[in-house]
Symmetry: C2
Subunit: 245 residues, 2 copies
């Protein structure tokens, strides 16, 4: 029987080659620990493992190896082990007795789907509006027609109004919104496919930022949903959001 | 180089052992064709393959084998090859110039997510309301409080009102709604975990039925989303819905 230990650290927001380089550099000291980087949808799962006959020594070595990685990549590590981003966000909202509602455009329902994969999510997830058309953004989220006309549906201004609108509709503590161009069509020179804006209304403040994600339609959707969940996590932690456009 | 042919038929609504039995019986004649049944989330993918040096003879044999399966399992086969349920439903809606909107409760956004995985879905998918609470069902979908009080949020009556409500909100041709108990909590003796009601408002008519799905939370959600899409497909084809509770 093999013995030793195995850990998973889950990262979001840093490109895979950068993570792999850090792990490669750490592995240069040949301490018997295997550090691997595994792209997983929009996330990255980093594994640290060690085979050893002495389990307690192995745990100590893994503690040290984990700390080294956390020191270098900490801001991107959102969870470890089996915990998913949606589990984590759900636990954080629950513990603080906060509720959330989501206005989804380009993600089409994926954020709500992920939030409701967690048992008991009805405690903090009040619901969402999937506003796939401008008309729905105006009628169901109280976005002003002038805002869409002037700035476009994929803009800081529109996602801010969407976030406020959904928060009011559901009377939740946090309202979050996403609007973007998932592709393959709909891109322009100014706003190429993958351009996504996120807005958040929480604690009397409104935040927004734009991002540009790589990949095909489903990847843009998944990345957008993870970024939204990461925003909630960072907001509740008091951490800065990942830098945008 | 291996030659011959390979086909996939996609089925929904028939239990895997029943499909496997049909394939086993057909394979008894030892015609060299391999028939296999692969559970795939809430669907079943049946493959038919034949190795042969004569491709045109292989195609003829596969045509015959496919016809035999279609004769026996036709009502459950929704697509073949790479086409997904959401691709198919999207194509059918597009061709008929129809629009759809969805009121989601237990699926939490999964139906919208699947519909919007298809490029160009903004042409027919107008959006959705994820009404995870009774309050949202009442305020955003115009469900009458008395209906929920008398029949419960998971009932024929409530999903009918949800379907009408979402259709009106989005002014779509078809409104479809789903409300159920995804678990692990929330079940009762009368309505155990897995109980899901679907309602549809289309062509001046309202339909509804209840189902009971097996499995854990994510499986109940996925099965519900596929049943909803299958309802749209069957409605547009003029086929009867799968029998409910």
């Amino acid at each position: 029987m093999e013995r030793g230990g195995y850990r998973i650290l889950k990262l979001y927001g840093l490109k895979e080659p950068s993570i792999a380089k850090v792990l490669r550099d750490l592995s240069k000291k040949n301490d018997g620990i295997t550090r691997e980087s595994h792209p997983h949808l929009s996330e990255n799962h980093t594994t640290i493992s060690l085979q050893s006959h002495d389990n307690s020594l192995a745990e100590k070595k893994l503690d040290r190896a984990e700390k080294e990685i956390r020191d270098l990549l900490g801001p991107y590590i959102f969870a470890s082990g089996d915990q998913s981003m949606e589990d984590l966000v759900g636990t954080m909202l629950s513990e603080r007795d906060l509720t959330i509602s989501v206005a989804e455009s380009c993600t089409g329902g994926l954020i709500g789907d992920r939030l409701t994969d967690v048992p008991g999510s009805s405690r903090y997830y009040k619901g969402g509006i999937i506003a796939y058309s401008n008309q729905a953004k105006i009628e169901l989220l109280d976005v002003s027609p002038g805002c869409i006309e002037e700035h476009g549906a994929v803009s800081d201004q529109t996602v801010r109004e969407m976030a406020e609108g959904v928060k009011k509709r559901f009377r939740s503590h946090i309202g979050i919104a996403v609007s973007g161009i998932a592709g393959p069509d709909g891109g322009s020179r100014e706003k190429p496919v993958g351009t996504v804006y996120i807005g958040m209304s929480a604690s009397e403040e409104i935040f927004s930022a734009g991002y540009c994600f790589q990949g095909a339609r489903k990847q843009v959707k998944h990345n957008s949903s993870t970024m939204v969940l990461d925003w909630v996590r960072r907001h509740l932690n008091g951490d800065p959001f990942l830098p945008g456009l």
